[in-house]
C-alpha cells in the first residue's frame, strides 16, 4: 500500500489519519503532506494505536549487493520496512497539534517514520511521538526487529530539534533492557507563541518537582525521578526548555494508560484552542 494525501487546511480542523485494517503491513508506506496557512489551527490524531505487523522474510539481500539492474531485482531491493512520512509546513499564526496514539510494533516488525516540520516564525507546533512495547498480553515486549522515528523541527529555517530515535537489539544489549521495565516511551515537543503558556506551566511544574535525594537514598530502591501513575505503575518524566523556542517533555511509563494521563494533563491547555483536550475521553 502506498498512500499519499495532501491537505490544504485553511482554518480549524480535526484530522484523523486512518489506515486500512488499523495497521501497517510489511512495506506499507503512508505519506502525508500538510500545509497550514496563516492562522490555521489543526489537530491531527488517530483513532487507535498504529499497529505495525511483522516484516516479511527478506531472502534476497544478496541481490542488492550484486546490483544487477533488472526489474525483478529492483523490486526485491525495496527495503523491508513499513512506515510513515509526514511533511508539515506551519505558517505564522498557525498551530499544528500532532497528537496521535502510540505506535505499537508487533514481534519482528520493522518500522520507519520520518516527520519534518517547517515552522515559520510565529507559528506553533505540538508534536507527540510515542510507542509501546507490543502485544504485552502475548508476551511480546520490545520484540520488534527495528523501530526508527526521525523528527526534525525547523523554526524559521534553522534546525531547532532533531530527534533521531533508532531502536534495535545490538552489541549494547536488547531494546527491552534499555527500556528498564517501561512499556510506553515517548516525547512531546512544544514550540511557538500559541503554546508559550503551556511551556511555562510545564517548566513551573518541573521546577516544583525537585526532590530530596537523601530521603530517596534512605528508602533504598524507591524512585525519585519516577512517580506512580493512577494505575499504580511507575512513570518517569522530565521537561527540558528549548532555548528561545519551547520545551521538550520526555516520558516513560509501565502502563500505557498512565502515559495517556500524563499527556492529557500536559496538553490540557490546548482545550481553549481546539475545543477539546487531546487524549481525554471526550476527544473521541
Amino acid at each position: 500500500m502506498h498512500h499519499i494525501s495532501t491537505f490544504l487546511l485553511l482554518s480549524f480542523a480535526l484530522q484523523y489519519v486512518i489506515g486500512y485494517g488499523g495497521g501497517l503491513l510489511a512495506k506499507d508506506r503512508v505519506s502525508v503532506e500538510c500545509v497550514l496557512d496563516t492562522g490555521a489551527t489543526v489537530a491531527i490524531t488517530t483513532q487507535s494505536t498504529t499497529k505495525v505487523y511483522k516484516q516479511q522474510k527478506v531472502a534476497p539481500i544478496a541481490v542488492s549487493a550484486s546490483g544487477s539492474g533488472n526489474g525483478a531485482s529492483s523490486k526485491a531491493e525495496e527495503p523491508p520496512w513499513c512506515g510513515q512520512t509526514m511533511y508539515c509546513t506551519i505558517s505564522t499564526g498557525a498551530l499544528l497539534a500532532l497528537v496521535p496514539d502510540p505506535v505499537t510494533c508487533f514481534k519482528a516488525a520493522n518500522y520507519r517514520q520520518v516527520q519534518e516540520f517547517r515552522v515559520a516564525a510565529g507559528g506553533s507546533l505540538v508534536l507527540c511521538d510515542w510507542l509501546t512495547s507490543g502485544r504485552m498480553e502475548r508476551g511480546e515486549v520490545w520484540d520488534f526487529e527495528r523501530f526508527e522515528s526521525h523528527n526534525a523541527i525547523y523554526v524559521d529555517d534553522s534546525l531547532v530539534v532533531l530527534d533521531p530515535l533508532v531502536l534495535q537489539d545490538g552489541i549494547q544489549g536488547t531494546v527491552k533492557q534499555r527500556m528498564r521495565g517501561m512499556h510506553a516511551v515517548g516525547m512531546a515537543v512544544f514550540i511557538g507563541p500559541q503554546v508559550a503558556d503551556m511551556v511555562a506551566q510545564l517548566l513551573a511544574r518541573e521546577h516544583a518537582r525537585r526532590q530530596r535525594f537523601s530521603a530517596v537514598r534512605q528508602a533504598g530502591s524507591a524512585a525519585a525521578a519516577m512517580g506512580v501513575g493512577c494505575t499504580g505503575g511507575k512513570i518517569m518524566s522530565s521537561v527540558s526548555p528549548l532555548p528561545g523556542h519551547g520545551a521538550v517533555l520526555r516520558f516513560a511509563a509501565e502502563q500505557t494508560e498512565d502515559a495517556y494521563a500524563l499527556l492529557q494533563e500536559a496538553l490540557e491547555p490546548l482545550e481553549d484552542i481546539l475545543g477539546a483536550s487531546p487524549y481525554s475521553n471526550d476527544y473521541y
Binding site: H150, A152, S158, L159, V160, V161, L162, D163, P164, L165, V166, L167, G170, I171, Q172, G173, Q177, R178, M179, R180, M182, V185, G186, M187, G192, P193, A196, D197, V199, A200, E206, R209, R210, Q211, R212, F213, S214, V216, R217, S221, A222, A223, A224, A225, M226, M236, S237, S238, V239, S240, P241, L242, P243, G244, H245, G246, V248, R250, F251, A252
Partner: protein
C-alpha cells in the same frame, strides 16, 4: 598544536640520538595523554552523565554492580550513536584540508545543539566543549590553518554567548517574563547577524584531536574513554563502587567500545549520508534520566 612537529622544521636541535620523527610521534602521544587525563581542566569531573539522577531513580544501585556496568554501557552506546558521528564529521573534513573545516564544524555544532534535547546534557556538552577550546587556544597552542579556524570559531562563540544572554528569555517568555521583552526586542535585530555557536564537546574534541595530529580512530576512542572515565569517577564519588572496581570496569570496557564502533561503522546506511542522518538516539530512557537531573533536590554533579 602541531608545535612539536613544526619545531623540528624550524631547526630545533635534536636531543640525544632520538630521530626527529620519533620525537614528533612522542609529542603527539604526549598530547593524547593530556587530553585523556582527568586533570585536564575541562570540568569532566563535574558531570556524572546522568548517573546521579539514575541512582535517585533507582535505575542504578550500589547493591548490584551489574547495574552500573549496564549504565556505563548505555552511556557509551549513546555516545557512539549520537556524539561520535559529529566528532568524526569535523575530523574527516579537516583531514581533507582546512578548507571547509570551519563550516563543517559550525554545522556539527548547530546539529549537536538540536539533537541533544535534554537541557542538562546540552549544557554539560557546551560547558566542556567551551573549556576545551579555551585550553586549545591558550594552553595547547593551536597554530597554522587549524589555528585560524579555532580563532574564528571562538570569535563566533563569544558573539553568540553575549547575544544569547540577552535573548534567553525571548520567545518562550510567557506573561511572567514579560519584563524582559524590552531587552529581547532590542537584541532580536542583532540576532539575525549572529551565527549561533555553542561550542559543543564532540565537534570540539574532533577539532582538537585533528589539530593535535591524533588520528580519527584514536580520537573516537579517546572521547569514549573520557565518557567512561567520568561516569566511573562519579560512581566512585557516589559510593557505588570503590576505586579498584572502577579501574577494573574501565579496563574491561575497551573491547565493548571496539565492538560498538565496529557495529556503528558497519551500519552501512550511514556511509555517505549527511551528518543529520548519521546521528541516532538509541536509549530514550537514559536521555530521560539525564534530563531529570535537576529534579534532584540536592546534587553533587552538574549533570
Amino acid at each position: 598544536m602541531t608545535a612539536g612537529i613544526d619545531a623540528e622544521a624550524d631547526g630545533t636541535p635534536s636531543v640525544g640520538n632520538e630521530p626527529a620523527a620519533a620525537r614528533a610521534v612522542w609529542s603527539v602521544q604526549w598530547l593524547t595523554w593530556q587530553l585523556c587525563d582527568s586533570a585536564l581542566p575541562t570540568g569532566g569531573f563535574a558531570h556524572s552523565n546522568g548517573l546521579e539522577a539514575s541512582v535517585a531513580a533507582g535505575a542504578v544501585s550500589a547493591a548490584d554492580p551489574h547495574f552500573l556496568a549496564q549504565f556505563l554501557k548505555s552511556c557509551l552506546a549513546n555516545a557512539v550513536a549520537l556524539q561520535v558521528p559529529m566528532l568524526r564529521a569535523v575530523w574527516d573534513t579537516g583531514a581533507g584540508g582546512s578548507e571547509g573545516l570551519l563550516k563543517a564544524w559550525l554545522q556539527a555544532d548547530a546539529l549537536a545543539n538540536a539533537v541533544i534535547t535534554s537541557h542538562v546534557a546540552r549544557r554539560a556538552s557546551a560547558a566542556q566543549g567551551c573549556a576545551l577550546l579555551r585550553l586549545a587556544c591558550e594552553a595547547l597552542l593551536c597554530t597554522g590553518a587549524h589555528g585560524d579556524a579555532l580563532t574564528e570559531f571562538r570569535k563566533q562563540l563569544r558573539l553568540s554567548q553575549s547575544a544569547n544572554l540577552s535573548v534567553q528569555a525571548r520567545p518562550v517568555a510567557p506573561s511572567s517574563l514579560q519584563q524582559h521583552s524590552g531587552a529581547a526586542a532590542k537584541s532580536s535585530g542583532e540576532n539575525l547577524l549572529v551565527v549561533w555557536v555553542w561550542g559543543h564537546l564532540a565537534p570540539a574534541f574532533g577539532f582538537v584531536c585533528l589539530s593535535a595530529g591524533i588520528d580519527a580512530a584514536a580520537a573516537s576512542r579517546m572521547f569514549l574513554y573520557t565518557v567512561a572515565r567520568d561516569v566511573l569517577s562519579a560512581a566512585n564519588r557516589l559510593s557505588l563502587i570503590g576505586p579498584m572496581q572502577g579501574a577494573r570496569l574501565l579496563a574491561d570496557i575497551s573491547g565493548y567500545v571496539d565492538l560498538l564502533l565496529l557495529e556503528n561503522a558497519s551500519t552501512a546506511e550511514c556511509i555517505g549520508l549527511p551528518l543529520e542522518q548519521q546521528v541516532a538516539q538509541v536509549d530514550p530512557v537514559l536521555e530521560l534520566l539525564q534530563a531529570s537531573h535537576e529534579q534532584l533536590y540536592s546534587r553533587l554533579f552538574n549533570s
